[in-house]
Amino acid sequence: MMLSTATLYALCGAAMIGIGVYGFIVRAHLLRRVLAFNVIGSGVFLFLGALGYRAPQAGADPVPHALIITGIVVALSLTALAVALVLKHAEEAGRAVLPEEDREET
């Protein structure tokens, strides 16, 4: 059985979500967490968009597309806020790492 385009990209989206979740847990540097959060986000978008393409002969579903465009913009707003908070924390603590996770450096 050959995978359809939609299934292939949905699986790729699922893999990206997993990669992002791993990075979000393991990497303690706050800017890396913001980055991992964005990887999770784009994985979710790809997953959703691919599910809207399961009947290519009918055309791509515009409703998920509209939701995803909205989502991309909201993700950017959150990223901007998160980055501002990270910089503020780093200015006060000297490092962009939460105190309870500040162990030995690699």
């Binding site: 385009t5 292939l8 699986l11 790729c12 699922a14 893999a15 979500i17 997993g18 979740v21 791993y22 990075g23 847990i25 393991v26 990497r27 303690a28 800017l31 890396r32 913001v34 980055l35 964005n38 990887v39 784009s42 997953f47 968009g49 691919a50 599910l51 393409y53 399961r54 009947a55 009918a58 055309g59 791509a60 579903d61 515009p62 409703v63 597309h65 509209a66 939701l67 995803i68 465009i69 909205t70 991309i72 913009v73 909201v74 950017l76 990223t79 901007a80 806020l81 980055v83 501002a84 908070l85 990270v86 910089l87 503020k88 000297g94 962009a96 996770e101 030995e104 450096e105 690699t106």
Partner: protein, 313 residues
């Protein structure tokens, strides 16, 4: 096995590869560079999924503006705190647990996808049926500004709230000042040249993208991002400064888009339904909302990327 399938499979492998490099890389700057590459590759994936509107938004916002934000934050951390992005090491056991969580999440999602029926058309017939009443020919714009205009209105307000939240982090003595860092570019350097060369082109492209968005891929968010990028380039090239955050004109520019949108919605409410657009005026109203939104989105995005004021006024 067709050529298209081989292309898709290779693109997916590249996506997974760049995502792993972005998340697991040792050097923070390299990770950010991989993340930008990854964003551009996702844009390609969107083209393969027939989503040109999303591809434009992803390339401009997901890769472009997010990249600028992250690189800016990286350089601030390095200059201000000497934080080069080193990560505290995590012991092996929690790492294994994290890997187990991540594999479980991916595995469950994959199982869900494989269990879905093939060939479901989703909401395509419903949108196609009602497209003639929406006033526009691009189904994504029809959904964004007519069928589900509520989402888009909320989104434009979320952008505004995010900016208010970022501004709220301003230290008291800098309140009302110029957002972001003062830029220094060599007057005869590449950046300064591009800063003069590209803005006129960018302006034309942005106006075209918002105008074309009613019938073809494009629209307010993509065009607003292009405008924001043009402005960021002008500022980075040292040609102009960001406006003071206390400027009334600036604050007016921030709210005009959501205000026009909300106004049209309220007039609709007086005639029957909130945000309902009458068929005869739908196209004109959608374009009016889109042009006002483009302007406000551009200003909001540019200021979100610039961040809080960091120097005295």
């Amino acid at each position: 096995m067709t050529a298209a399938f081989v292309f898709d499979a290779m693109l997916c492998l590249l996506l997974v590869g760049t995502a792993v490099s972005a998340v697991a890389g040792r050097d923070l700057f390299a990770s950010i560079a991989f993340f930008v590459t990854y964003g551009i590759l996702i844009g390609l994936a969107w083209l393969r999924l027939g989503a040109v509107d999303v591809a434009l938004a992803e390339a401009a916002i997901g890769a472009g503006l997010t990249g600028v934000l992250l690189i800016g934050a990286w350089s601030m951390l390095q200059r201000r705190c000497g934080d080069g992005g080193n990560d505290p090491a995590m012991p092996v056991l929690p790492k294994l647990a994290a890997a187990a969580v991540s594999v479980t999440v991916t595995g469950m999602l994959a199982l869900a996808v494989l269990a879905l029926p093939v060939g479901a058309p989703g909401l395509v017939p419903l949108v196609t049926e009602n497209l003639s009443e929406s006033g526009v020919g691009n189904p994504v714009t029809a959904v964004l500004l007519n069928f589900r205009a509520y989402d888009t209105l909320m989104e434009s307000i979320v952008l505004l709230i995010a900016l208010v939240a970022v501004w709220a982090l301003t230290p008291k003595e800098l309140w009302g000042g110029v957002p972001g860092l003062r830029q220094h570019a060599r007057p005869d350097g590449v950046l300064a040249t591009f800063g003069r060369l590209l803005p006129p082109l960018g302006l034309v492209v942005a106006v075209y993208v918002v105008w074309a968005g009613s019938e073809m891929p494009g629209g307010a968010f993509q065009a607003g991002t292009i405008l924001a990028a043009v402005w960021l380039l002008v500022v980075m090239a040292g040609i102009a400064e960001e406006p003071r955050m206390s400027s009334r004109l600036l604050r007016l520019a921030l709210v005009v888009g959501p205000a026009v949108f909300l106004g049209v919605g309220l007039v609709g409410a007086a005639f029957g339904s909130f945000l309902g657009l009458p068929v005869d005026f739908a196209k004109a109203l959608i374009l009016a909302i889109e042009f006002a939104l483009t302007f406000s989105i551009a200003v909001t995005l540019a200021l979100l990327v610039a961040g809080t004021p960091r120097e005295g006024t």
